[in-house]
Amino acid sequence: MLKKLLQDRVYSLGITIALICLVASILFPANFPTFENVSQVMLNLSIDTIVAVGMMLLLISGAFDLSVGSVVAFSGGLAANLMYFHNLPVPLAILAGLSSAILIGWVNGYLIAYQGVNPMIQTLAMMGIVRGGALLVAGAGIQNLPYWYNAIGQSKLLGIQMPVWYMLLIVAILSFLVNKTVFFRRYYYIGGNEKAAHLSGIRVKQMKLYGFILSAALAGIAGILLSSRLGAAMSTLGRGMELRVITAVILGGASLSGGVGKIPGALLGAMFMGIIANIMVIARVSGLWQDIILGIILIFAVWLDLFVQKRSLHQNFFRPIWKKESSKELGKAELVE
C-alpha cells in the first residue's frame, strides 16, 4: 500500500510536505501553524499555481511556454491601462486582458504546432515581445484601480483571500477534465509519443494549439488576479515566473520529455516551494542564502523521490502514463473521437 502510494509523485510529495509542515510546526510553534501564516502562504502560491496548471498540461504534451510570466504582466497591465486611462468598465477591461492572453497563446500555438517553430525559441521570443508590451501599457506602474477590480483579488471568503479559492477551483476543474475526459487525456498520448498519437487519429497540431491557448489564458487570469490583489499593475510582474513555475511542475511529477504528470502535482510543487520559502522567512534566513538553500532542497527532494521510486518500482521506473493505459482504453478513446 505504502509502496504504491510512494510510486505516485502526488502522494510522495504530499507526504513530504506534511512532514515538513510537522517539523516546522514543532520548530516554530508560534509562527508557522497559525491560520494567518497558512492562509498567507496559500495566497502567495495561488498565482504561481494557476500558471503552473497550464504549464503542467503543456509539459504533459511535451511542450512548455516561457512567455507565461510576461503574459501575467501584460494581461493585468492592459486591463489596468484600459480602466485607468480610457475609463473602460471593469468587466470589459478584464475581457480585453484575457483576450490579449488568449491571442498570445494562439500565436505561440499556431507557430509551434502548424509552422514547426521550436517551442523554446518561439516562447522565448514571445516572452521578450510581451514584456516590452507590458512596459508600454503599464509604464511606471498603474495604481488607484477601480474598487470592484481590486475586490476580485482582495475579497475574502471564510477569512481566506479569493485568489486561493480561484486557484483551488481551477485545480479541481482541470484535474477533473484531465482525469475524466478523453479530450484532455489525449495530451498524455501526444506527450508520450507524438507520432503514434498522430497515427492513431489524434489531431496533434490542433491539440497543441489548444494547449498553448489554455496555458496563456490561465496566465491571463493569473495576471488579472495578481494586479487586482496588489491594487496595481506593474510591468515587472511575473518576472522569472516561468522558471519558477516549470520547477514547481517538474517537482510535481511532470517530465520535460512529456507524457507524465498530474494536475494536483502542479499545486503540490508550488506548495512545496512556497512552504520552504515561508519557513526561511520565519527562520529569518537571509535572502542571500535563500536561493542556495531552496536549490539544494529541490535537488534533494527530486533525488529522494527518484531513489524511492527506483527502489519500489524497478520495472516501471519513469514509465510514461500513456504506456500504462491499456490498448483497450486507447481504442475506446479514439472511438469517442
Partner: protein, 341 residues
C-alpha cells in the same frame, strides 16, 4: 430529490456569498494612524525585540554596503535583533510576499524599501496589524506608512541634467539609461528631461533599459557610440549604469570626451571618477535611510517622545512624516575624500 439538491446548492451558494467579505473602501481623507500601534510602556530595550528590513535584490552591493550595513550597525548599537529579508533578484511581488509573511510573525518594527507603488497594500496590511512601518529610499505616497526617509529622484535627474549641460557646454547629443518602468527612475528621467528641454541645442537620442546589468549597459553604450560617433554625454540612473557606460567609453578610447554622469558611489564608481572616465556622481546618503529609519521605529515602539496622552488615538505619530536626506555631488575635486573613507 432533484428539487432538494437545487435547494441545497442554492443555500450553499447564498451562504458562500454572504460569507464573502469585500475589501474596505479607501478614502483620501482616511485617518492616518487609527490602528493600535504596538508600543512598549518601557524605555528598556528587550534583546528579543526584532526589527526587520524587507527589500528586493538583497545582494545588490549598494544595498549590502550601505543600507544593510548601517541597519546592522544600528541593531548592534541599540542591542536589539535585526533581520534583513527579501528576494535575491529585483522581484517586487516576491518582496510583497516577504512583507506579508513577516507581518504574520509580528516583529517590533518594519523597515521597507519603497521599490514600487505596488507594495502599497502590503504596507497598509502591516500598519493595520499595528506594526510601526517606515519606508525608505523611494516614497510610497498612497500608502499609510508612518514615516519615509529617502531621496527625491526627480532631484537626482535635475542634478544630472544641470551638470551635463555644464559639461557639454549646452549643446550636443545625449542619451540616458536605467531600469525602465520603475517609478523612482521614471521620476529621475523626468527631472533630467525637464532641465534638458530648456536647451534646444541639446538632442536626446534615446532612453534605454540597461536592466541594472553592467554588461547590458556596456553593450548599449557601445551601440550608441557606433550609431552616434558625435555623442557628447550619457546619464545613468541605476547602480550598474555607470560602470557599464564607463567600460564601453574606455574601450572606444573616448574616456573624458564622452561625458558621463550617473548615480551611486560604490568604490568602483569613485575609482572611475578619479580616472576621469565619469565626471559626476549623484550620490544618495543611503546609510541615513536605514539608520534613522530604524531609530524612528524604535522611537515609535518605545514612545520616546510622547506628544500627547495617547498619540495613536488622536491619529498622530511621534516621528517625522517625511525626511529628504539630500544628495551628495561627487566630482574629481572631492572624490579623494570619499575614497579615503
Amino acid at each position: 430529490m432533484k428539487r432538494l439538491s437545487t435547494v441545497l446548492y442554492t443555500t450553499c451558494l447564498t451562504g458562500l456569498l454572504v460569507a464573502c467579505e469585500l475589501p474596505p473602501r479607501q478614502h483620501s481623507g482616511e485617518k492616518q494612524t487609527a490602528d493600535i500601534i504596538r508600543t512598549s510602556a518601557s524605555t528598556e530595550v528587550d534583546p528579543n525585540e526584532e526589527y526587520v528590513m524587507v527589500t528586493t535584490a538583497i545582494n545588490m552591493p549598494m544595498y549590502v554596503n550601505h543600507d544593510q550595513a548601517a541597519f546592522k550597525k544600528w541593531g548592534a548599537a541599540r542591542g536589539v535583533k535585526v533581520s534583513v529579508l527579501g528576494p535575491a533578484e529585483w522581484d517586487v511581488p516576491a518582496q510583497i510576499e516577504t512583507i506579508e509573511q513577516v507581518i504574520a510573525t509580528r516583529p517590533a518594527g518594519l523597515l521597507i524599501n519603497g521599490t514600487d507603488p505596488g507594495i502599497t497594500q502590503a504596507i497598509n496590511k502591516a500598519v493595520a496589524a499595528g506594526i510601526p512601518t517606515v519606508v525608505y529610499d523611494s516614497d510610497i505616497p498612497g500608502s499609510r506608512r508612518h514615516a519615509f526617509l529617502g531621496t527625491d529622484w526627480y532631484q537626482i535627474g535635475q542634478m544630472q541634467g544641470e551638470e551635463m549641460v555644464k559639461l557639454i557646454g549646452g549643446k550636443g547629443k545625449i542619451a540616458y539609461m536605467g531600469i525602465l518602468g520603475l517609478t523612482n527612475m521614471e521620476q529621475g528621467f523626468q527631472g533630467l528631461l525637464d532641465v534638458i528641454k530648456k536647451y534646444p541645442e541639446i538632442e536626446v537620442v534615446g532612453k534605454f533599459d540597461d536592466k541594472a546589468n553592467v554588461e547590458t549597459a556596456a553593450k548599449l553604450t557601445s551601440d550608441l557610440l557606433a550609431a552616434h560617433p558625435d555623442l557628447s554625454g550619457i546619464c545613468g540612473f541605476d547602480s550598474n549604469s555607470g560602470p557599464g557606460m564607463a567600460l564601453a567609453v574606455k574601450e572606444a578610447g573616448k574616456a573624458g570626451k564622452v561625458k558621463i554622469t550617473t548615480v551611486d558611489w560604490e568604490p568602483e564608481h569613485l575609482q572611475l571618477v578619479q580616472e576621469g572616465v565619469i565626471q559626476m556622481l549623484a550620490g544618495q546618503k543611503r546609510e541615513l535611510f536605514t539608520w534613522y529609519g530604524a531609530q524612528f521605529l524604535f522611537d515609535m515602539v518605545h514612545s520616546t517622545n510622547k506628544l500627547s496622552a495617547n498619540d495613536a488615538q488622536i491619529g498622530i505619530t511621534n516621528i517625522p512624516h517625511t525626511i529628504n536626506t539630500g544628495l551628495i555631488k561627487i566630482t574629481k575635486e572631492n572624490v579623494g575624500q570619499f575614497l579615503k573613507r
